[in-house]
């Protein structure tokens, strides 16, 4: 049975791929969010400061405009402080150590059959599945 969420996933994924394709062909850059954000945070991306800020502005502003036009979206994120702090810290540390996240390694890496992209994606998806198994089904805390 095909679910409507899958179609939305495919269509939204197409937009994500279109954005990444545009960033590569027009801008000449690989669209990696942890790299762009990390470059703003630690100053390593200072040569592309304006461009990085414009990209992040679009990334925050685009959905803001859409939600203003069509309300009803929610992140449904946990309000437990340890989840937000530990999750955020690990995501920040891990993506910068690995030099990429789901956009850089996932979308941009897998699509060119990069060994690092495929390897990183296999590891974070595998560890994510293992973590949820323990956190949700063994400890029952997530």
């Amino acid at each position: 049975m095909i679910q409507p969420e899958w179609i939305w996933g495919l269509a939204g994924g197409g937009l994500i791929g279109l954005a990444a394709a545009m960033f590569l062909l027009v801008q000449g850059r690989v669209m990696g969010i942890s790299g762009i954000l990390g470059g703003l945070v630690d100053g390593s991306g200072h040569r592309r400061l304006g461009e990085n800020l414009a990209f992040v502005g679009g990334l925050v502003g685009g959905p803001a405009l859409y939600v203003w036009w069509h309300p009803g979206f929610a992140t449904q994120i946990s309000s437990e402080l340890w989840v937000l702090l530990a999750g955020g810290f690990l995501v920040g540390l891990g993506t910068r150590l690995a030099n990429g996240c789901t956009s850089g390694h996932g979308v941009c890496g897998i699509s060119r059959l990069s060994r690092r992209g495929i390897g990183a994606s296999a590891v974070y998806v595998g560890v994510g599945m293992l973590s949820i198994s323990v956190l949700r089904h063994v400890w029952g805390i997530v």
Binding site: L10, V26, G28, V30, G38, F55, A64, F89, G94, A98
Partner: protein
């Protein structure tokens, strides 16, 4: 000016893609990782839908020396699967599972994610700074763009 415009446009399309695909919904992301529960395959469709146009873009990029705006076209090669990549991805996978957010959706949901989303984003900062302190990358971009 054109560079800023197209960078913002890419960011906007990317963010709306994340929103429409359901990837700003942390329960949907955790539902994909939860293979023992009511498994939600949506994330696989999102990744598939994104990889197809991007694979085409890499093909086009392969034969070009410069981008539309005249900057050098990246032609990344194959880098090594080193310890940093593996350890980093392990830590990222754990954090991703705990909160259900990765950097893209964390930014895309900033306008409607409430104080929780803001706390998550701020918690990423010390993590990123710690990683930079452990070994500073050459540029703000991912390693395989510099590993020609």
């Amino acid at each position: 000016m054109l560079r800023l415009f197209f960078a913002a446009l890419s960011g906007g399309i990317f963010g709306i893609g994340l929103l429409l695909s359901g990837m700003t919904d942390t329960l949907r992301v955790q539902g994909f990782l939860d293979v023992w529960g009511a498994w939600d395959p949506t994330l696989a469709f999102v990744l598939g839908g994104a990889i197809l146009p991007m694979a085409l873009a890499w093909r086009v990029a392969a034969s070009r020396e410069t981008s539309v705006l005249g900057t050098p076209m990246p032609h990344p090669g194959q880098g090594p699967l080193d310890a940093r990549l593996v350890v980093g991805s392990i830590l990222f996978g754990a954090g991703w599972a705990i909160a259900g957010l990765c950097p893209g959706p964390a930014l895309a949901s900033l306008s409607f994610g409430g104080s929780e989303g803001i706390i998550f984003l701020f918690a990423m900062v010390p993590g990123m700074v710690t990683a930079a302190g452990l070994a500073r990358p050459k540029d703000g971009d991912t390693a395989w763009t510099s590993a020609r």
